[in-house]
Amino acid sequence: MFDVHSYRKAASVGQALTLLAADPEARPMAGGTNALFKLRRGSEAFRSLVDIAGLPELPGIALDPDGGLRIGAGVTFRELAASPLVAEKARCLAEAALAMGGPQLRARATLGGNLCGGGHCAACRRCRYPRCPAAMVGADGPAPLLGLDARAKIAGRAGKRLVPLGQFWTAPSRTAVARDELLLGVVIPAASLGAPGSGYVKYAMRAAMDTATFGCAALCRLDGGRIAGLRLACVMAGPTPRRLPKAEAVAPGRLPDAATFAAVAAAAAGEASPRADWQGDVDFRLHIIRRQIEALLAAVARRAEDA
């Protein structure tokens, strides 16, 4: 039995916003995998729930007329991982979707929940700190979407707004979505889509049902056999999901070879600011960041070459 004091099912985004505004304790819940996990751990934050699962405004993966890819916040990871459109246009996102949790969790966990507070710290399994400031950093959704330059569509009572994901995670456990607002979905611009050199790597303690010790999405563009552009977006390389602009800047103009990958990875490790926790100390994490980024770059460069 979960300590739920009130549960209301919203029929529309408008009604959900009204319910959230009326009750300062109310929190939205879609799949519930994160909210119920936190309730079970003793959190008081999710005792009053507004169920937003299945709202007509939230599902769907579709191309916009301008070529951008629109993904609703209510899309589950199962849908994301199985979507041919995502696999074709945003491979790193499809890979990250499949790296998240296990089949049962993917069937219910939504992208919106993952971006707004999912991927609770893996240490939650071992520690019982209900208001852990590290929550949400190990989620699999943020890195690929950050790398894809996605923007979050947020609905409030005053209207809708678009927030670049670079400004979405304002602090650990804090997002740009205010308490009485709802994340409607994300929009990936057409320019980021369909790049062949795209991939996601996740290092975790086990192959399923674990948050990332380190997760990184890379998008690599080749031109005339040399790297023309590189984007790296990571989780667990700092307090919030982040890009690594200094490491990205190392690559352009260089050959996609082992020396370049090592140089980028070294710059990434220099730029990252991982924390020490039960998953590993800072040295170990920096080692993982270096090795994983080297391997990821080799993989995405090969994909870009093969395309």
Binding site: A96, P103, R108, G199, A207
Partner: protein, 216 residues
């Protein structure tokens, strides 16, 4: 709160508390095969099929299942005959203590019915259970024939391809996932030629460190 829940084909009108989990509601209806293991959706012992999709019922509210149909192990045997998956579990000795077996039977059933029986050897597709079961090393190899036991699964398994596109992570085969491998060859990124991080002092748990990267 009043909900309508179909369990193994029979419709029930239930009054549930808002905080009641689906697992509790199902057990209240006599489906005691639905076990509570970890209570956090990690172990998979409480897996039931909700509208045909495997779901951990411990971290799902009963009210979330309003209007949906749940299937548990209780409904799998028909007319005194075990389902093909159940029968295959027995023939392949695919369990040890049996606590999580109902959840595994339901997960396997969903995989078999979706035509992805061959995926069972990939470990990840079998859901949370394999990684957390002490007997997994012995039982995982036997799950593939279980998943293939379903007539619908056989055709897909011989095609050797998953029903849905499967990009993404390929777990490094851990000590407990040495079943026959099917499907496309997996490539593992393992720059140091070994399994991953060194074991650190004070760390508990039997999980094997895993490096993951998608198939190329």
């Amino acid at each position: 709160m009043n909900i309508s829940l179909t369990v193994n084909g029979k419709r029930h009108e239930l009054e549930v508390k808002p905080g009641e989990s689906l697992r509790e509601a199902l057990r209240g209806l006599g489906c005691t095969s639905v076990k509570q293991g970890c209570g956090a959706g990690e172990c998979g012992a409480c897996t039931v099929l909700v509208d045909g999709v495997p779901q951990t019922s411990c971290n799902m509210l009963a009210v979330q299942a309003d209007g949906k149909a749940a299937r548990t192990v209780e409904g799998e045997a028909k007319g005194g005959e075990l389902s093909p998956v159940q029968q295959a579990f027995i023939e392949n000795k695919a369990f040890q203590c049996g606590f999580c077996t109902p959840g595994l039977v339901m997960t396997t059933t969903a995989l078999a019915e979706s035509g992805r029986g061959g995926d069972m050897t990939r470990g990840r597709s079998a859901g949370p259970s394999p990684g957390t079961c002490a007997a997994a090393r012995a039982t995982i190899p036997s799950w593939t024939p279980c998943a293939r036991a379903c007539p619908g699964a056989a055709a897909a398994a011989t095609r050797n391809e998953p029903a849905a596109p499967e990009p993404g992570r390929t777990g490094k085969p851990t000590h407990n996932q040495r079943g026959t491998r099917h499907g496309q060859a997996h490539r593992h990124v393992d720059p140091e030629g070994r399994g991953g991080r060194p074991r650190q002092g004070g760390q508990r748990g039997g999980s094997q460190p895993t490096q993951t990267l998608a198939d190329q």
